[in-house]
């Protein structure tokens, strides 16, 4: 797992990952690249990350992928990322096409739902939590329960 301040250098990360696994005999390699869209007049998005939990979330996926003969990699931005630049790249390597296609879907969807990353719009220089586009992590709400025993 790799974290970088600001936009990712996608070409260099992609090239390095390709080289790293060149001799690993994986037949299928599927990266997913997330790029900041120009919308709602934002100048950039900005990200906070809680690294210890991201690390353990990611290591869980390394193990899950391994059981299916596959490998996952991931890089994400911290801080401000201007529109039309990229904040996220993840990838699956697998001997098998089907495993790779299924795993990239599951991995990216779980990332969206459970990676401890918070997103903010940068609008007129202000940093505004993107609450409407955010998802409560699994297990959310347990601290809201009322004592009743």
């Amino acid at each position: 797992m790799e974290l970088y301040q600001g936009s990712l250098d996608i070409k260099s990360i992609f090239s390095r990952w390709l080289d790293e696994e060149r001799e690993s005999n994986y037949g299928a390699f599927i990266p997913f690249i997330g790029t900041i869209r120009a919308e709602n007049n934002i100048e950039a998005l900005s990200f906070d990350i809680y690294e210890p939990i991201l690390e353990s979330w990611f290591n869980g996926w390394v193990e899950r992928a391994k059981k299916r003969g596959a490998k996952v990699k991931m890089a994400h931005s911290i801080g401000d990322v201007p529109v039309h630049t990229s904040s996220y790249i993840s990838a699956v390597f697998s001997p098998k096409r089907r495993v790779a296609l299924e795993l990239i879907d599951e991995f990216v969807e779980d990332f969206k739902a459970n990676a401890p990353i918070w997103k903010y719009d940068i609008l007129d220089g202000r940093r505004i939590y993107a609450e409407d586009r955010s998802t409560p992590m699994s297990g959310s709400g347990i601290l809201a329960s009322k004592e009743d025993n």
């Binding site: 997330g34 990200f47 906070d48 990350i49 809680y50 210890p52 939990i53 353990s56 994400h76 904040s87 996220y88 990216v108 990332f111 969206k112 739902a113 459970n114 990676a115 401890p116 990353i117 918070w118 997103k119 903010y120 939590y129 993107a130 609450e131 586009r133 955010s134 998802t135 409560p136 992590m137 699994s138 297990g139 959310s140 709400g141 347990i142 601290l143 809201a144 329960s145 009322k146 004592e147």
Partner: protein, 73 residues
């Protein structure tokens, strides 16, 4: 003493309280109005491990993290 830290957009400094379980933490936080409004959509980690169990025992020095809704990517 247990440390409670608030992640991402929750604008609250870390707190230190006496608590024997997550239930104690819940009771404490429900009484802070600005925090209570977040709780129904926040997840919890203890010492950087996600935790869904309100009866989880806490020891002095434990760190409880409060995680609001996420959106990486």
């Amino acid at each position: 003493m247990v440390k409670i830290e608030f992640l991402g957009p929750i604008e609250q400094e870390s707190l230190e309280i006496e608590a024997n379980s997550l239930k104690d933490v819940a009771n404490f936080l429900q009484n802070i109005e600005s925090i209570n409004s977040w709780l129904d959509r926040c997840a919890v980690a203890v010492n950087s491990q996600m935790c869904n169990d309100l009866s989880k025992k806490l020891n002095s020095g434990d760190v409880v993290s409060i995680l609001p809704p996420v959106c990486g990517g």
